[in-house]
């Protein structure tokens, strides 16, 4: 299963599920870890405290027992009268009764035992299974300057000595100063000392076990290692030399704290070679410290095991969750991708593309069904569109035919009367749509008289064109040689009004030019006034008689005007497609501009004038679409 192939929903779902569950999981695990760590620390702390307290109590009970012995003996030596031998026997018999002690000694201050005796000391100690008594003190054995003696004397209180070796036995001595009050003054007469072997200390301390490999140790007031499972450390090292060897100032500070405080707990990364917790308690009698050390990793073994369990479960859970999310995402994205492929195919135009089957009734299924509906609608729409387009194409082709017919109705061969030298005619019609409503016509009524018409049917397109055809046909049919333009207009108007239900109308200019005389008679049916260009006077609009547009009201009267044309004069008729041509700013071309163009044209021939006007119109419109048919009809009278 390639999840990255379906990047997007599947990947996002996978990532967000996995990441959020990892986050939740890690949070739970951490809080669990810290909670249980704290709990374990406290539990083990209590446990160790109880062990250490019971050990200290054991040590204390022995030490306290030992401390009583010299105190009892002190009373004896205060009274004079004993010989050293008698004192020695007393020491030995005391020793015999107290298994826990190694030796007992009494030593006197100079001249205190006898006035002439500088040194006086007697010592009874164990040797093998028996006891041995010896006296001590000489110039080579000045006991006054030994720790056990000197400390009790100078401190003026009982003192436990630092541990020391005597004949390979590790001992510590408890020395009690004995005073006598003489003449109101208290002064020292000697020291009673008891030596204890520290072996039994080791037994007590080393028998205390904490967790699997935790152990007890004992350090003296100076930090000297007195008991430790590593016997090489005993008496050779102090807490501080170990710190110094490790260049570990933090351990040194821990040592100082241990010697300063009554009890406490510290953790250090390197205590006697391990990351360990250290519990310590002061032994009140001799001011030594009992230490309990155990590796931190053991303390947290259970927690670590638990955490590994939780972690494995969590990781398996997260993997399952991830797989599930991928499967779900696949279930969604697979049909979606198929739908997307289909949509693309439909987009490319294949409306017969099959919509993929989606089982179920979920959103994806709904989407698939909507897709089907969309495709069907599209198909229907496209087929309708095809039909409509075909119809439109047919109409367009018909319109084009109609245009051709219309254009064919107009005379388009110029000059139209090549054998008549007295006149020239030129016309053009530029329809706005395919079929226009403008038209022009001209024909001779008899030998001399030329009838010409310029008309503009209201509206555009096919209706206008049909109406134009009718009008044009009527003009042709109704006009005869004896008629004047106003009569022709009246007759055509009446004919058009009959059955003109569509209320269409036509503006017409109709003139009859006598080619012999140059007389022009004309009538107007609401059309624009044509321009007359006199050969010697320039161009101007001709005066127009009144006259209503035709096709609107029956029996309307029209009147005639007449003017005489001289050879070279020209008449220029046009429709409003010229003067009302618009540019992009919706401004009209206007009759003034037309007049100007005609004036500028000067003595161009008729076709040239028409071309100039058309050119100026195109220039004026500046690509604005042509809104109306444009028609020009020019006639020049040349005379005989």
């Amino acid at each position: 299963m390639n999840i990255f192939h379906s990047k997007g929903i599947a990947l996002r779902l996978f990532l967000s599920f996995s990441l959020s569950s990892v986050l939740i999981f890690v949070t739970i695990m951490l809080s669990n870890y810290f909670y249980s760590k704290d709990k374990t620390e406290r539990q083990i702390g209590n446990h160790v405290r109880s062990i250490i307290t019971s050990s200290v109590n054991k040590v204390e009970s022995v030490l306290n027992g030992v401390e009583k012995i010299p105190e009892n003996l002190a009373n004896v030596i205060e009274n004079k009268g004993f010989t050293l031998q008698e004192l020695g026997d007393l020491l030995c018999s005391t020793l015999r009764l107290n298994d826990e002690i190694y030796g007992l000694s009494i030593a006197f201050e100079p001249y205190q035992f006898k006035k002439d005796l500088l040194y006086a000391g007697i010592y009874c100690y164990r040797e093998g299974r028996g006891f041995r008594l010896k006296s001590f003190g000489s110039d080579n054995d000045r006991y006054f300057y030994q720790d056990w003696y000197q400390m009790a004397r100078e401190m003026q209180s009982p003192q436990w000595s630092e541990p020391y070796y005597e004949e390979k036995t590790l001992l510590s001595t408890y020395s009690v100063p004995v005073y006598k009050t003489r003449g109101g003054k208290r002064h020292l007469i000697g020291i009673v000392a008891v030596d204890i072997s520290l072996e039994w200390f080791s037994d007590i301390v080393l028998s205390t076990k904490v967790l699997k490999t935790g152990y007890g140790a004992l350090i003296s007031q100076n930090g000297t290692i007195v008991t430790h499972p590593d016997r090489g450390l005993i008496m050779n090292e102090t807490f501080f030399t170990i710190a110094e060897a490790n260049k570990d100032n933090a351990m040194r500070e821990i040592g100082r704290e241990v010697l300063r405080k009554e009890s406490g707990i510290v953790r250090h990364h390197n205590l006697f070679g391990m990351d360990a917790y250290l519990y310590y308690t002061r032994i009140p009698s001799n001011d030594w410290r009992l230490l309990m050390l155990f590796p931190a990793k053991e303390m947290f073994q259970d927690i670590r095991d638990l955490n590994v369990n939780v972690a494995v479960l969590g990781i398996v859970g997260i993997i399952l969750l991830a797989i599930t999310s991928v499967v779900i995402a696949k279930g969604i994205t697979k049909p979606l991708r198929r739908l997307s492929t289909t949509a693309e195919e439909i987009g490319r135009g294949n409306l017969d593309a099959a919509i993929p089957e989606v089982t179920g009734r979920d959103e994806v299924a709904m989407l698939a069904s909507s897709f089907g509906t969309m495709r069907d609608s599209l198909r229907q729409y496209i087929s309708k569109l095809t039909e409509t387009t075909a119809a439109k194409q047919r109409i367009e082709s018909e319109l084009s035919i109609a245009h051709d017919i219309q254009m064919n109705m107009l005379k388009k061969i110029f000059p139209p009367f090549p054998d008549r030298k007295e006149i020239d005619v030129f016309a053009l019609l530029e329809p706005a749509k395919e079929v226009g409503g403008d038209f022009y016509d001209f024909f001779f009524l008899d030998e001399d008289r030329l009838l010409f018409i310029v008309a503009d049917v209201s509206g555009k397109g096919v209706p206008a064109s049909l109406f134009m055809s009718v009008t044009m046909t009527l003009f042709k049919a109704k006009s005869s040689a004896d008629m004047s333009p106003d009569v022709i207009l009246s007759m055509v108007n009446n004919e058009l009004c009959d059955g003109n239900d569509s209320s269409m109308f036509v503006t017409v200019f109709c003139g009859i030019l006598n080619c012999c005389t140059g007389e022009l008679i004309y009538a107007n049916g609401g059309h624009m006034p044509p321009v007359i260009v006199r050969r010697d006077q320039g161009a101007q609009f001709i005066d127009m008689p009144d006259g209503l547009i035709i096709g609107v009201m029956k029996d309307v009267g029209y009147s005639c005007e007449r003017i005489a044309l001289l050879p070279g004069d020209r008449i220029l008729c046009y429709t409003d497609g010229v003067t009302e041509a618009m540019n992009g700013n919706r401004e009209f071309y206007g009759s003034e501009r037309l007049l100007e163009v005609i004036k500028k044209a000067g003595q161009e021939d008729l076709q040239g004038i028409a071309a100039l006007i058309m050119e100026d119109l195109v220039f004026f419109a500046d690509n604005a679409p042509q809104s109306d048919d444009i028609t020009l009809l020019c006639i020049e009278y040349r005379g005989r």
Binding site: N140, Y165, R256
Partner: protein, 338 residues
Amino acid sequence: MQPIHSVRCNKIWLGCYTFLLIISSALLFYPPFAVAKEPITLHKTRLILQWLPQGQFAGYYVALEKGFYRKHGIDLEILDGGPDAPPSEYLRSGKADFATMWLSTAIQKRSEGMQLINIAQMIQRSSLMLVVKKASGIKTPSDLHLKKVSIFDGDFSIQPKALFKKLNINPRIITQSPTPNLFLRGGVDAVSAMWYNEYNTIFNAGINEEELNTFFYSDHALNFPEDGIYIMKDFYRDYAHVACAFVRASIEGWEYALSRPEESIDIVIKRMKRVGVPANRVHQRWMLMRIGDLMRSKGKDAVGVLYQGDYNLVAKELYNIGLIKNIPAFEDFHISCK
């Protein structure tokens, strides 16, 4: 601790070594190559040190262990000193030909008529000092007036007594046991210490240096050069070359010890364990390095030299205190082997 891979290396070396040994012994027995490696007659002699084995004497143990004495024609046995073995007695009785001693001790012995001579002054600066806790408020030696001060017995007490006399103060003097324990328990206000020994013991009992004030006698015009090498005049007359060879070998030993402290401490500790005294590596390292400082306090070339100025100062102080009746002539007392 030895890394595991070195065991494998050792095996390879052992192989090579054995091979070389076989080859070289084969060559040795082949007459043209059989050359004696050392002088045929080694001078058999003995050295007595002031105290039990410790870093203070590293140079001598190292010179012995590394064969420097043999190289100089001496077959040496080192006798362990201690409370029961005063070096001057050993010299006098002939139990030893060479002895290390303090200059002050030697001058006294000489003044008493013992015909010993100094052939090398090893330690140039006095390391004896007084240590007080800052908390006691004692800032200068003058503040020790009427305070409890513990002083080592014997020649160690000469400088303190001279100082107190100079300062005109009267401390309550307690004869000091071999340990500073009484001081650590607050039984005395000031304790005597050798800079290379007890001072570090105090530090190793958890007292920080910044908690202490220290007064060196050398800073108070009482610089008594300490360890020197002594022989009897007669010995010098008969074996001058042996005496000077001994000095050269010893100085070589010291140079080696100070340049390779760890190896040297191993040698010292081995010796200490044999005698059965508690051995602490950190402490022995401190001792060795400080002894090095004290020996070289006047420069490397001064090792072995006894300066007349120092001699005169010590002799004068001894005379003033009344420990000697006459000041032996310097030229008679010191013979330079350098």
